[in-house]
Symmetry: C2
Subunit: 253 residues, 2 copies
């Protein structure tokens, strides 16, 4: 594995509930943070409605473009859970009842005095050729097929599936990031930020303004795969900010 | 305007900070909720990095497809604020310093004893042919050109811009939604939900499971442009849930 190889990912959120504004998505942030630790960069997110054709189109647009694609949502037992069918259609494969998933669900429900009804059995359906991703929270597994990872919509279930995948995916050099903050208007330090990027090739500086307690300020995130370059850029910016009269808070405000 | 016309929108979030997992997006939910009141359906969201080519490609993919497109992020004074250039490129127009925006910024900074520096003047740049969207929070206006609406990344600034646009955009019949909740496993009521949709054409039922206080439950959102159909479906589901031994909480749990 070369240091130069950058591993990329996209997330496809399947969710009328997010598009209606009813539910605040939590999965993008948790998958992004998890990917970062694996040395994989999240490069794109799409949120589409619970409509098969939309899911298929989005999957086909992104699965060729990124190393890994994660979907969230639409894998439960109800009529609006159509992700498995959409994934199978995008890949041009059939849908089967996965024998291991069926066995997991049988054990799960029988331990709770329940039965594997037809609705519950829907959660054992996978695209043909898929592997399962363990779900220690609620039985019904996630699905891995090719570079696609089919996760739950409920964030704590997806968190458990991410734990199960930790260390399983090949990644590259993790991005090193340092944050500094200052009670400075962005516009006062814009030239300095531009210079910081110019003088430190490979370093990207993000500028994130905020307004709190009646005052403007901003946090600045300095990122690179080269930790020494990040440190040098942070030192330069810190000196420059202080020369302009803006004390810097390491770690951000 | 016919009752049949459905007005649609997409949101393009421009933000390395969202893709890195550092910042939790808040704009999608607030724009979605606002659109709902305007009788416009949010149909797609994309989140892309602060890379001009990615923004241009995404804009061109969605602006032809939906009635309205909102961007958030990348319109400040710093080097990473490239949304205006990307929008101009997507539309094939030049970038100008908008005279009204320049006047707004001059007044804003002079009232605060500051100057319209070159960095701040960046916030007066618009695609040629754009109108401004008032920003009562921090001076720098949003931008409206064709069916594109360029909003801030900072949520409370975007909230102010949405207020300024309220009632300005043509929409259709608003979607009526009622929510009911029950401490029922989704899989126990899946058949009933399927039947509810089948018996009430034009009604969509979303099922959103959760796990709280050691128990599983779900909220069910019943949506249609026909309020009477929503009410009839809610009545049928409520009776059906109670017959299965699951008391229903109106408004959701």
């Amino acid at each position: 594995m070369s240091d130069e190889r950058i591993w990329t990912a996209a997330v496809l959120v399947i969710g009328d509930e997010i598009l209606s504004g009813r539910t605040q998505d939590k999965n993008v942030a948790q998958i992004a943070t998890w990917l970062d630790v694996q040395g994989i960069r999240l490069r794109e997110v799409r949120i589409v409605p619970d409509v098969e054709a939309e899911i298929v189109d989005a999957l086909n647009a992104i699965r060729a473009r990124y190393d890994y694609v994660f979907t969230t949502g639409g894998i439960g037992p109800t009529h609006d859970d159509i992700t498995v069918d959409a994934v199978a259609k995008a890949l041009g494969v059939g849908v089967i009842v996965h024998p291991d998933a069926r066995a997991i669900l049988e054990r799960y429900y029988s331990a709770r005095g329940g039965e594997l009804t037809e609705a519950r059995l829907r959660m054992a359906r996978t695209p043909d050729g898929a592997e399962l991703i363990p779900n220690r929270m609620s039985g019904a597994p996630g699905i891995r097929i090719g570079n696609l990872f089919v996760m739950a919509g409920v964030p704590h279930i997806t968190a458990g599936m991410l734990d199960a995948l930790t260390g399983e995916l090949e990644g590259g050099a993790p991005l090193v990031a340092q944050t500094i903050g200052a009670w400075a208007p962005e516009s006062e330090v814009a030239d300095l930020l531009r210079l910081g990027e110019k003088d430190h090739p490979g370093v990207a500086i993000g500028s994130y303004p905020f307004f709190r307690e009646g005052k403007v300020g901003a946090n600045f995130v300095i990122r690179s795969t080269d930790g020494a370059a990040v440190a040098a850029c942070v030192a330069m910016l810190t000196a420059g900010f202080e020369a302009l009269g803006y004390p810097v808070t390491a770690g951000g405000i």
